[in-house]
């Protein structure tokens, strides 16, 4: 049996829920895996574990410590979902000044806040499952890879590729701000296949041609501000430089 834990840092816990969304497959998974630690689903939780799935990203010093401890007590650490993998939505706070950001807390500011970063900023990470929430297919791929002792690889192509494979009509053609061309594949183009433009929740991929994407969007009449917002939504941390460049245009 492989022992696993699902841990939460600052996030919406949607990835924990997504884990439970495996439903029938979860029973299949439990034949090989033993869930030792899963606050959302279990009362008694323990460490160490063979594989730690960490969702969210540390936003306080306390959480950084928690992350370091999880790393110490696990053999394999998996960044579960975009917040953990790229900084995701919590990273949005880095777009504003600290003073401005603290306003939302009113008279109850958090104790020792830290800037949200991808968790590999603090600890080595073996695997990343991108997406908000992550893709169940990819999780199953990873789980199978671990059982069979083979490598797990993230896609190095864009959502556009998967969208085109499903022979969808292109949403850019319809004038939508679609992040498909710069977003990492792996979701089987879930949103565009259902008529909603890609929001880029899986973050950028290695070969993304940002300048070409931005040029295309601007040619369509989409404003710089709208593009900056779309780029910042899930990927402010990895795309900081692109966004800074865009602001200067």
């Amino acid at each position: 049996m492989i022992s696993i834990g699902i841990f939460s840092l600052s996030c919406c816990e949607g990835c924990s829920v997504q884990f439970l969304n495996l439903e029938g497959k979860l029973l299949e998974v439990l034949k090989y895996y033993n869930i030792e630690n899963f606050r959302l689903a279990k009362e008694l939780n323990s460490l160490p574990v063979d594989i730690a799935f960490v969702e969210g990203t540390p936003t306080t010093a306390e959480e950084v410590k928690k992350l370091l401890k999880i790393r110490r007590d696990s053999n394999v650490l998996v960044a579960l979902g975009t917040c953990a993998a790229t900084g995701g939505v919590p990273g949005l706070v880095n777009t504003m000044s600290k003073r401005e950001a603290m306003k939302v807390y009113d008279s109850n500011p958090p104790y020792m806040p830290v800037d949200p970063k991808p968790i590999d900023y603090y600890v080595p990470v073996e695997h990343k499952l991108y997406g908000c929430p992550f893709s169940k297919d990819e999780l199953m791929e990873l789980i199978t890879a671990v059982i069979m002792n083979k490598s797990f690889k993230n896609r190095e192509s864009s959502v556009c590729v998967e969208c085109a494979l499903r022979e969808n009509a292109c949403l850019l053609d319809k004038g939508e701000l679609c992040m498909g061309p710069v977003t990492r594949a792996g979701c089987r183009a879930l949103c565009p296949s259902n008529g909603a433009p890609c929001r880029g929740c899986r973050g950028p991929y290695e070969d993304a041609n940002y300048k070409a994407h931005i040029r295309t969007l601007m040619d369509m009449g989409i404003t710089r501000e709208e593009i900056i917002e779309a780029y910042s939504m899930f990927s402010y941390e990895p795309l900081k430089e692109v966004i800074a460049w865009l602001k200067e245009q």
Binding site: V29, A164, L165, E167, A169, C170, D173, E206, N209, T216
Partner: protein, 342 residues
């Protein structure tokens, strides 16, 4: 063609004719959806009579985006492999345009010529083609650069000449489809058909302004432009999304993917369309042989206009213009060609 192989069918009899075909064949015809494409129809009233080509080509009927090769299962003494190749029904495709018929000819050379693909071959065999002349071109069309709207091979070819369809017979199979509803065409009918074709082709030529018919010469010109600065300029704007490959009626690259259950006791192997624009396309365990985007952009153009000419003496492009229509970055293949062969 001799006049006794040219017929005409009153337009109001087309539904009756199609339903008689449906009784005998699995019939595919243009259907309008979010994108227009060929789909299986079970009643003639489902057919859309479009003025020109469909958004999607015929490719996925014969070579679907994903296809299983085989399943395997672990047994006590090794593995049992079961081929997923299924017998395919007799197909008839109605309303195909010249570009797509020509594309099928090209795809045949890749898949059933020098090398043979059993899955494609099974789907492709016994396919009857009923083509149709376009009423007017799309803005991206440039089939005249490759010889025009009417292909060499077809079973029947329909051209709208007013109250009738003029019907040309291109094969014995086609001749067998001619029943009592068809009338002999007159000289006048044939003249009208020719005028019709001339008019549309002239329109296409006006918007194309390139002629690639001198295959050897043009291909040679493109071949010598390996170092052309345009490749790097295109690489700047190309999104490497692979859409031009997937939409192309002659692109036939695929990736091979293995799937298994959790413990690896059974699984399957399948293929999925792949694109030469993608970063991982030419990667081996040791090296990535087309890491730079400009090399990938160039490769696709060469693989349409240079390599197939060297190997099969034909372009792997038919001027359907789908890649131009679908490119999110607005790359127009005609502009590339004009630049190369200017």
């Amino acid at each position: 063609m001799m006049t006794n192989y040219v017929f005409k069918l009153p337009k109001n009899r087309i539904y009756e004719f199609l339903n008689s075909l449906i009784a005998e064949y699995t019939v595919y015809a243009p259907v309008e959806g979010e994108t227009s494409r060929f789909e299986r129809i079970t009643d003639a009233c489902e057919v859309q009579f479009l003025p020109n080509r469909t958004d999607r080509s015929l490719k996925s009927i014969f070579f679907p985006p994903e296809e299983e090769f085989f399943k395997w299962k672990k047994e006590k003494d090794g593995y049992v492999v079961t081929d997923s190749l299924k017998p395919s029904p007799k197909k008839l495709i109605f309303g195909v345009r010249g570009c797509d018929v020509r594309a099928l000819d090209i795809l045949d050379r890749y898949m059933m010529g020098e090398f043979s693909d059993p899955y494609y071959k099974e789907r492709r065999k016994n396919t009857v083609i009923i083509g149709m002349t376009c009423d007017y071109p799309r803005s991206s069309c440039f089939c005249t650069a490759f010889g025009g709207m009417i292909p060499h091979h077809y079973d029947l070819w329909f051209t709208d000449i007013g109250a009738y369809y003029l019907v040309e017979v291109g094969s014995d199979t086609g001749m067998k489809l001619i029943d009592s509803q068809f009338q002999k065409a007159t000289e006048q009918d044939i003249k009208r058909k020719n005028q019709r074709i001339e008019k549309v082709e002239l329109e296409i030529e006006k918007q194309t302004k390139i002629n690639l018919c001198e295959t050897k010469h043009c291909s040679q010109k493109i071949k010598t432009s390996v170092e052309h600065p345009m490749w790097k300029e295109l690489a700047e704007i190309c999104l490497a999304c692979g859409k031009c490959n997937f939409i192309c009626p002659t692109c036939h690259c695929f990736d091979v993917i293995d799937t298994t259950n959790l413990d690896g006791s059974e699984g399957a192997r399948m293929r999925r369309w792949d694109s030469c624009h993608l970063y991982e396309y030419a990667k081996t365990s040791a090296e990535n042989f087309r890491k730079e985007r400009h090399a990938r952009v160039r490769y696709r153009v060469f693989d349409k206009f240079v390599f197939p000419v060297m190997r099969y003496s034909t372009y792997a492009c038919t001027g359907c213009g789908r890649c131009t229509d679908i490119c999110p970055a607005g790359i127009d293949i005609r502009e590339i060609l004009r630049e190369m062969i200017a």
